[in-house]
Symmetry: C2
Subunit: 211 residues, 2 copies
């Protein structure tokens, strides 16, 4: 509880700093391998000329994801948490100092692959974006409700695989809405691009840029 209190204070500080610079910060959360980095690669490539963007990458180990982000020409810092299971506000504060993002820009934070712990740690973001892959099963919202409750957005990813898996999209969305009635749902394939236009429209509107 003491640890959470200290984190939440720093998160509030981050939130104030981001507001002052009119930066939209989003915290991408999901299980390992649901497609966070792939979704970022697509977004950073497709919206390159529309919004200035920067990324904070969180992983237990390796620079793999930061390297993938940098390959899009986007500034990125990689945080390695070692045995740590979630990013914390102090790591994000240091990351932001290193990145020094522009005013009126988009800051994308990719959290450690974990559908559990990141729900409890505010980073100062405007919103959590939860990603669920159709390969994981439609009961995941009900079984991991704290993450659904903490997220403003749910991206259902890998819809290109729907023909080969058992995933009731309507049931998954209903389960999410039972927990969080206001949650906004996008259905996409980060690899083939399906549904990304709706996600991009939302991002551009949210940051106040006309598409």
């Amino acid at each position: 509880a003491a640890i959470l209190g200290k984190n939440d204070k720093l998160a509030a500080e981050n939130r104030g700093w981001l507001k002052a610079k009119n930066i939209l910060a989003l915290n991408l959360v999901s299980s390992p391998g649901s497609g966070k980095t792939t979704l970022l690669e697509r977004t950073l490539t497709d919206l390159k000329d529309k919004i200035p963007m920067a990324v904070i990458e969180g992983d237990q180990e390796t620079l793999n994801d930061a390297e993938r982000i940098r390959a899009t020409g986007t500034a990125c810092v990689q945080v390695n948490t070692g045995t740590g299971c979630h990013l914390e506000a102090d790591m994000v504060q240091k990351g932001m100092e290193q990145l020094d993002p522009q005013e009126n820009s988009l800051l994308l934070i990719e959290n450690v692959g974990n559908l559990v712990c990141p729900a409890l740690f505010d980073l100062g973001e405007r919103a959590k974006v939860a990603i669920l892959s159709v390969t994981e099963g439609a009961d995941k919202p009900a079984k991991y409700p704290h993450m659904i409750a903490a997220s403003d957005i749910l991206v259902i990813n890998k819809i290109d695989l729907l023909p080969y898996v058992t995933f009731d999209v309507d049931a998954a969305i209903q389960a999410a809405r039972d927990i969080n009635p206001a949650i906004k749902v996008f259905q996409v394939s980060a690899t083939n691009g399906e549904g990304l236009d709706v996600w991009y429209d939302w991002l551009l509107a949210e940051i106040g840029v006309s598409g």
Copy 2:
């Protein structure tokens, strides 16, 4: 550290209790939706007449997995951790008291879907069985090395989806062996049954039952 020390003492106690009853306990760990419960459903059904088996199910919320296990005719207790991100030795101790597993049996523990935290919490099991789905990406062992280091076995699941995803099986196995040279690897599809015979042979040999 204090919390880990207390857990490890109870884990040692569990280990002794299981040894006294000649029970083989396995701790199944993976990301959410990699197929732990499906693999258990298959194992419990196919080996029903060969070994007495019981299950401890761990999830943040719902009885979903315990209900699926019970539908196979297997005794099961469901532990709900609430916001908790991993099973602990005390929960397993209570579970074992409730289940009262027979001597010379197999106790299967399905941990909370989480590729991070369960690596740090000994439950008293003989071995951790890590499950990785081919849909999650071949870089997962390198990015989540603590779970690979803590596991004796790696089950690569959902191999039926290999035609539709980018997953280099040899690279994934090599990455796991770089971290844990002795790790034993099975390649299976829990849904279509491919590769399960090798997993069953290992289980039967490990528990000392002739197949």
